[in-house]
């Protein structure tokens, strides 16, 4: 369960202020995946960061029960001079999971072959993405955060990663930001529309999509 209680967050960027959420109280029940909808710049990614815990609220509080992932497929943390394996070890240590198990899992999943032991700076972007996706899949979370799912690799790899992710979701939930309504319908059962600092929760993702689309038509 994740719950926001009278949560307020204003973002200031180079003198521009933007109210992301204004005195919002909402509960995300466990067991249902959530799609986050909103126009460009509404603050969907910021909200995801608040849920993850990498951004603090200005006022109010957030209660999290369960393990929450970093954004799926995040690869910014890979140190170019370290090998793929060393980078995986680091993530395993941070999350307190068995390092050898995770290293073995990612080795098999990411299909990097000899490159797994080579510095990450020698990787192609596809290889990096595969490594990142493998690490995300190798640790069990209660909530997976997804900011625009991006398919990586060739057709086979795509199929495999989709299948693995769907399997994960039998025990975990996803909180997903996407502009593709098809993807949202595919992964999420419920939805949240973010508009003018207000968050509205809909039990049915289709309803959320409908509201979002009518919002988009109004301006």
């Amino acid at each position: 369960m994740i719950r926001l209680e009278r949560a307020t967050k204003e973002v200031r960027m180079k003198g521009v202020r933007k109210m992301i959420i204004d005195d919002v109280s909402v509960t995300f029940p466990r067991g249902k995946s959530i799609g986050l909808l909103g126009r460009n710049g509404a603050g969907k990614s910021t909200l995801l960061q608040i849920i993850a815990g990498t951004l603090e609220l200005d006022r109010g509080r957030i209660i999290r029960q369960g393990k929450i992932s970093w954004p799926l497929g995040f690869q910014g943390s890979f140190q170019g001079n370290l090998s793929g394996e060393q980078n995986v070890r680091f993530v395993a240590r941070i999350y307190g999971v068995n390092t050898d198990e995770l290293v073995a899992y990612v080795a098999e999943f990411a299909e990097l072959g000899q490159f797994y032991h080579a510095p990450v700076r020698t990787y192609s972007s596809g290889m990096k993405a595969r490594l990142a996706f493998g690490v995300s899949m190798g640790i069990n979370f209660d909530y997976y955060l997804v900011d625009e799912i991006t398919a990586v690799g060739d057709t086979n790899f795509k199929r495999k990663s989709q299948q693995t992710f769907k399997e994960k979701l039998s025990n975990s939930d996803v909180i997903m930001v996407s502009h593709s309504t098809g993807t949202l319908r595919d992964y999420c059962q419920t939805g949240i529309v973010l508009e003018n600092g207000q968050m509205t929760y809909y039990d049915d993702i289709n309803e959320a999509i409908a509201v979002h689309e009518s919002n988009m038509k109004r301006h």
Binding site: G53, T54, I63, S77
Partner: protein, 279 residues
């Protein structure tokens, strides 16, 4: 008790968890993350040069050793003792306990910015990891150099460990305070970073590394001794040289400055969480 009863059942559960297990859990999590950072820093600090972290020891040992021998060979009699090598080494090591730590800590966040995207990682973990790593490294470096430098003096040296330990502690506390504050200020005011670098460049000359500040003519000695880094150098040298008369050491001043810097550094770091701000 009334307050607890007023809570909803699930709140009560949260309260019980936080009382029974969570603080310890948090501590072990942080320790685990800090150790992961230490291992990562060791692997990446000298990532592309062959030999890796060995350079973190060799570089300062070679630099300080060479400078000490060179300056010693010029043949001047040091202001204290008989060996200029020992005199210079004690001064420079004390200075670097502060300066080396401060520089390394100030880039702890900016150098690990991408890792702040992991919700599990707290920005302070990166700083603690560097504090531990740099602390251990500089102690090994100091030990190697001083051990060698002690051979160059003809006088017997009585080492006073309390002075040495205190000087190192003050140096690190001050470095931590300045670095925490600068993490925020460098981020908010890039121009300040340039100014700070320029202003701090003569610090080496003004910290009593190759002279004794108390021996300087009157107005200068007071100015030099007002520099807290000079105080650290004086205190560190007290651990090696028995001196008669006033060395200019002002412990209350040193304590007040280090505590003050640490306080303001932590205050800024807490009030402005820049570690995860977007650039």
């Amino acid at each position: 008790m009334q307050a607890i009863r007023a809570l909803k059942p699930d709140r009560l559960y949260l309260l019980a968890v936080s009382v029974r297990g969570m603080p310890l859990n948090h501590l072990t999590t942080h320790l685990r993350i800090v150790s992961a950072f230490v291992i990562r820093e060791i692997a990446t600090r000298y990532g592309r040069s062959p030999g890796g972290y060995v350079w973190a020891l060799l570089e300062p040992v070679a630099f300080i050793g060479l400078m000490s021998v060179l300056l010693g060979a010029i043949g001047r009699l040091p202001a204290l003792g008989t060996s200029f090598t020992l005199f210079y080494a004690t001064g420079y090591l004390a200075f670097n306990m502060y300066k080396g730590m401060e520089g390394y800590l100030a880039s702890a966040i900016s150098g690990n910015k991408s890792l702040m995207s992991y919700p599990k990682v707290s920005p302070f973990d990166a700083i603690v990891a560097r504090l531990i790593l740099q602390g251990m490294t500089s102690c090994v470096v100091a030990w190697v150099i001083l051990y060698a430098a002690l051979w160059t003096t003809s006088q017997p040296v009585t080492i006073q460990w309390s002075c040495i330990v205190e000087a190192i502690a003050f140096a690190w506390i001050m470095a931590l305070g300045v670095a925490l504050g600068n993490t925020v200020l460098f981020f908010k005011f890039p121009l300040y970073q340039k100014i700070f670098d320029i202003v701090m460049r003569p610090l080496f000359l003004l910290s009593g590394v190759f002279y004794v500040p108390a021996h300087m003519p009157h107005p200068f000695s007071d100015i030099l001794l007002a520099n807290p880094v000079t105080q650290i150098v004086v205190l560190f040298r007290d651990g090696f040289y028995v001196q008669h008369g006033d060395t200019g050491l002002d412990m209350p001043y040193l304590i007040a400055i280090s505590a003050g810097l640490l306080f303001f550094g932590m205050l800024l770091f807490t009030l402005f969480p820049v570690a995860r701000a977007r650039d």
